[in-house]
């Protein structure tokens, strides 16, 4: 430990000083990292809602849809990042490759979550809603979807936290986000380890993941007031 403190500026604990020295860049990367992590989850959810509903509505659609989304999820992120621009005919430097890749992952994860969440709605509840005169569409939005919210938000939490980690991988191929700090620290560790950027990157990624997770949790609370009502009784 002592040896590390000797040269204050390469000590792991200097990460905060390092942050202050490079505030503008680091905050810029934090912002990039944030939208790269969040937007794909929103896109994924918007795509997963109809797909998940389809998978529940038509039982023949469920197995193939689950196999396809499961398979997509196993493609290593680094390969997907690089493949997207040539496949879609985009500029090779487009920052869009990351959100597109992550949207694919988020959709794959969330389709299953939505389908299973809707599947977990008790048959009696659906029947009761039908008896009360709900048409299928209204029933979906006012009864089935709200009941599935806890499951779906649990999936959103996994997706958003996973995204924060995957976005960092894109930093190692030169796309702007907090992952660049790892590349920077690694490049400067030639003669001896240079910890500050690496530690700073980890700290900022973890904090970002925890904050985003907390936000999803708060939204979940706000959308499902009845759960608190039951608990407080």
């Amino acid at each position: 430990m002592l040896t590390l403190l000797d040269s204050a500026s390469s000590s792991p604990w200097y990460f905060f000083g390092y942050f202050l020295d490079h505030r503008a860049t680091d905050l810029g990367w934090l912002w990039d990292h944030t939208w790269l992590s969040v937007v794909p989850v929103v896109v994924g959810l918007l795509l997963a809602l109809p797909l998940g509903w389809l998978a529940r509505r038509y039982s023949w659609a469920y197995p193939p849809m689950m196999s396809i989304t499961g398979l997509l999820y196993t493609i290593p992120s680094i390969a997907l990042f690089v493949l997207i621009p040539p496949l879609l005919g985009l500029d090779p430097l487009t920052p869009l490759q990351v959100p597109i890749a992550l949207s694919i992952y988020s959709t794959s994860l969330l389709v299953r979550v939505v389908a299973d969440g809707l599947g977990a709605v008790p048959t009696e509840t659906v029947q009761a809603a039908t008896a009360l005169g709900y048409r299928p569409l209204a029933r979906f939005f006012r009864v089935e979807l709200p009941i599935a919210v806890p499951v779906i938000t649990a999936g959103l939490r996994v997706a958003v936290v996973a995204n924060v980690s995957i976005v960092a991988v894109a930093g190692t191929i030169g796309l702007d986000n907090l992952g660049r700090l790892f590349d920077q620290g690694y490049t400067l560790s030639v003669t001896e380890p240079y910890y500050p950027p690496i530690v700073l990157g980890i700290v900022m990624c973890v904090l970002l993941a925890l904050v985003l997770d907390a936000i999803v949790l708060l939204v979940d609370r706000a959308l499902t007031p009845w759960r608190r009502a039951v608990r407080s009784r």
């Binding site: 090779p92 430097l93 191929i173 660049r180 690694y186 490049t187 030639v190 003669t191």
Partner: protein
């Protein structure tokens, strides 16, 4: 100290398990496969060096050198240096300006047959942005860039951990190039760089000097590899890039055979697509080199790449 011991203890435990699978990726070939010095060596370098014309195929063609095994490390970075220093590899592809070559007492093997082409630093710029003012600013920088100067810049970044942009500004002012003016006024351009410190600081130097002369500059630094940034440069989403004459020529024209600085530069100006121009080449060079440790060089009597093809006794 104690943490070190703990790490080693944990490591030994993990190794007991790890030994099992290491075979798929491991390196201990040890014995020579073709009876030459190189045949018993593990060579470390970036993935593309394995297939590049002046990489493994070039070493074989020009010197008859065939290494026992290739281990992918990184592009002249910490992994390659560390692996060479600690004996995981025996010879490596490093860059001649790398301060860690001297710091670790590594030996650069001579290249009498010019397997590695000249690598003068050259700004590649989009023709529409290359106004006389811009050219004048950049060529002024090119005239002052020397190989030693480059080494000093790198030392400041890699060992003294100074910020590349600060190092760039300091270099400009100490060479009285950072003066404010209007020669590049009205020009808007995007400067890119690859993801190694030397290229970043060069891009910073170009960008800062142009900014001081009134240009509106956007920096897109640390772009992964040439496969990513060159198409962007050719396609116009990047306007200016610090390049190396030999590498960029080789990239555009796989069959390029020029090796001397002037020949390479002339070939490059002809090979570039119509929308790109090469400005003046600097005297400063940073080329690939085959590097070994001092102990290895002494043990096998190596001073030139050709010595690697010697038969072992």
């Amino acid at each position: 100290m104690r943490t070190n011991k703990l790490i080693v203890a944990a490591a030994t435990a993990a190794l007991a398990l790890g030994g099992l699978t290491a075979c798929g990726s491991s390196s201990d070939s040890g014995s020579s496969t073709n009876g030459t010095v190189a045949g018993g060596f593990i060579f470390g370098g970036p993935p593309e060096f394995k297939t590049r014309t002046d990489g493994i195929p070039g070493l074989k063609k020009n010197y008859g050198v065939e290494f026992g095994k290739y281990k992918v490390t990184d592009t002249g970075g910490p992994v390659t240096v560390g692996a060479l220093k600690r004996g995981q590899i025996d010879a490596a592809d490093l860059f001649t300006t790398d301060p860690s070559i001297e710091a670790n007492g590594f030996v650069i093997l001579k290249d009498p047959k010019s397997n590695f082409a000249a690598q003068n630093i050259v700004p590649i710029i989009n023709k529409t942005k290359a106004t006389d003012g811009v050219k004048q600013v950049l060529n002024g920088i090119q005239a002052k860039l020397t190989t030693e100067g480059l080494g000093e810049l790198l030392d400041k970044i890699q060992n003294k951990k100074q910020d590349p942009d600060a190092v760039a500004k300091e270099w400009l002012s100490s060479n009285s190039l950072g003066t404010t003016g209007t020669s590049a006024k009205g020009v808007t351009l995007t400067v890119g760089s690859a993801n190694f410190p030397e290229n970043v600081v060069l891009a910073d130097i170009y960008a800062d000097a142009l900014t001081a002369q009134g240009a509106t500059v956007t920096k897109k630094l640390n772009i992964g590899s040439r496969e990513k940034y060159y198409p962007a440069l050719a396609g116009g989403s990047l306007d200016l890039f610090p390049e190396y004459t030999g590498t960029i020529l080789q990239y555009i024209d796989k069959n390029a055979s020029a090796t001397s600085p002037d020949d390479v530069y002339t070939a490059l100006t002809k090979a570039l697509p119509a929308n790109l121009v090469a400005l003046d080449k600097a005297e400063a060079q940073d080329s690939d080199a085959v590097v070994v440790t001092k102990q290895t060089a002494q043990k096998y009597g190596l001073s030139s790449i050709a010595d690697l093809a010697k038969k072992t006794k």
